[in-house]
Symmetry: C2
């Protein structure tokens, strides 16, 4: 392996360049997932009840990412969607969803993403969402966020949207809510200017990019949301559960680009 300045810094006593390492993990994940996209693939049914596809790409990518982390930072923990937790009480824990949006993936739709995040003592510090087919990447460290894509690189910033009546709202599917959550969600959707379904991680990144105002979801796992938090917050947005606490204790997530909108939606979600 070529020893770049960044490699040497990571392997020396100096502060590790986790952002550079995160970029290399995104490269590894892209190499492991994109060749499987839009090819006939076998599909497992993980849960029995709900159709929950797990592809060879999913597991293969997570295995490759975990191996890279274990080699570079053997004392760090890992939480992965497919292969479970290891050392998840470590100070630094990497959180991996190799293909967020597997349903989009198997339907040939380029809105799935590789999610990788670094959590330091419970606080999400760094995150990336990579979409290998479109060549887009969204990075964030909680205080800044940036985009790289076909049109070049730029800073990510949420847009102002003070009121739900002016907001574009996304959720992956209204069928993913419990009945009580469904009622709460409907209170929000009914007041939104425009509500759309089906985007998984891509919708959160469009909040960071300033084209979507809110995402309301439930049933999320840590690896579904933790990598996205530093991107959204770095772009000026806010991410909490439906009570206003840091996710993902409840699995319910509210992400917005404008704190005023966040407060309005929290109030609607809390009503009985």
């Amino acid at each position: 392996m070529r020893q770049t300045g960044q490699n040497r810094r990571e392997n020396s006593g100096a502060a590790p360049d986790y952002e550079a390492f995160l970029r290399r993990l995104a490269d590894i994940a892209a190499d492991a997932t994109l060749p499987h996209f839009r090819t006939p693939i076998g599909v497992d049914n993980k849960s029995g009840e709900r159709f929950d596809p797990v592809t060879a790409a999913d597991v293969g990518a997570e295995r490759a990412i975990r191996a890279a982390i274990a080699a570079a930072y053997p004392d760090h923990g890992i939480i992965g969607e497919e292969l479970g937790n290891s050392h998840d009480d470590a100070d630094f824990v990497w959180v991996i969803d190799p293909i967020d949006g597997t349903r989009s993936f198997i339907a040939g739709v380029p809105l799935w993403g590789v999610l990788i995040g670094l959590v330091e003592r419970g606080v999400p510090r760094l995150g990336v969402m990579a979409q290998p087919f479109t060549g887009e990447r969204f990075f964030g460290d909680g205080s800044a966020a940036n985009y790289e894509g076909p049109g070049g690189a730029r800073k990510l910033a949420t847009r102002q949207c003070a009121r739900l009546a002016e907001a574009t709202l996304f959720t992956t599917s209204p069928d993913l809510f419990s009945p009580a959550e469904q009622s709460a969600y409907q209170r929000v959707e009914q007041k939104a200017r425009l509500a759309r379904y089906g985007l998984d991680c891509y919708a959160y990144c469009m909040i960071a990019a300033g084209f979507v105002d809110a995402v309301v979801e439930a049933g999320l796992k840590p690896f579904d949301i933790l990598p996205l938090i530093p991107i959204i917050e770095g772009a000026g947005g806010r991410v909490t559960d439906w009570q206003g606490n840091p996710p993902p204790a409840t699995g319910q997530v509210l992400a917005t680009g404008d704190a005023r909108l966040h407060d309005e939606i929290l109030e609607l979600l809390a009503r009985q």
Copy 2:
């Protein structure tokens, strides 16, 4: 303008090369739409009731496409989403939806598409769906269909899927149905292996590509569906209304990749 062999053929007495012309129209549309994607844009509310965004890109692209058609084929008719019908009783009629999926467009989501089709005496003959951000194009002439994208060019072919219980089903949004249509749609969705929302024209193209099995929609206008028919049928699929007749008389559309699945869904849609 440089006179290529194709230009000369179009302007001479030989049979016009409509496919080459369609490609140039797609180029024109890409040039007129992509620069507006992911830029802050003004949004009109066309209908009053439902939020129905019309962007400068939408109208500008249609104007450019119409001008090109009028220059090359002044005796042809045009049906466009934004600027209405002209000579729509002509033998050849071009059908244009400059941005199918304007809601995706304004949310920064690269699943909108330029739809352009050529209808000869009521029969859809040629169609293209172009997604300028991903650089993908789907062409069809009813007997063959092909794809051009970042990974190269290839023939499009639907996949076998004999039963709804094995099918991946898409609809843009369940909210777009009337109550009676909603009931009929639910009968289909409940039997599908996987149902997803939110794709507009992209879902139809994924049928042609063999990754989606069925799309059920209602309220479609001619320009929403006519350009897609030669692509889906050229790839081996089938497109009818909910009674099994050629669309779009009723605005209700069923598109599938496998005729056996088509029959099963038609039967479910017809039940009272």
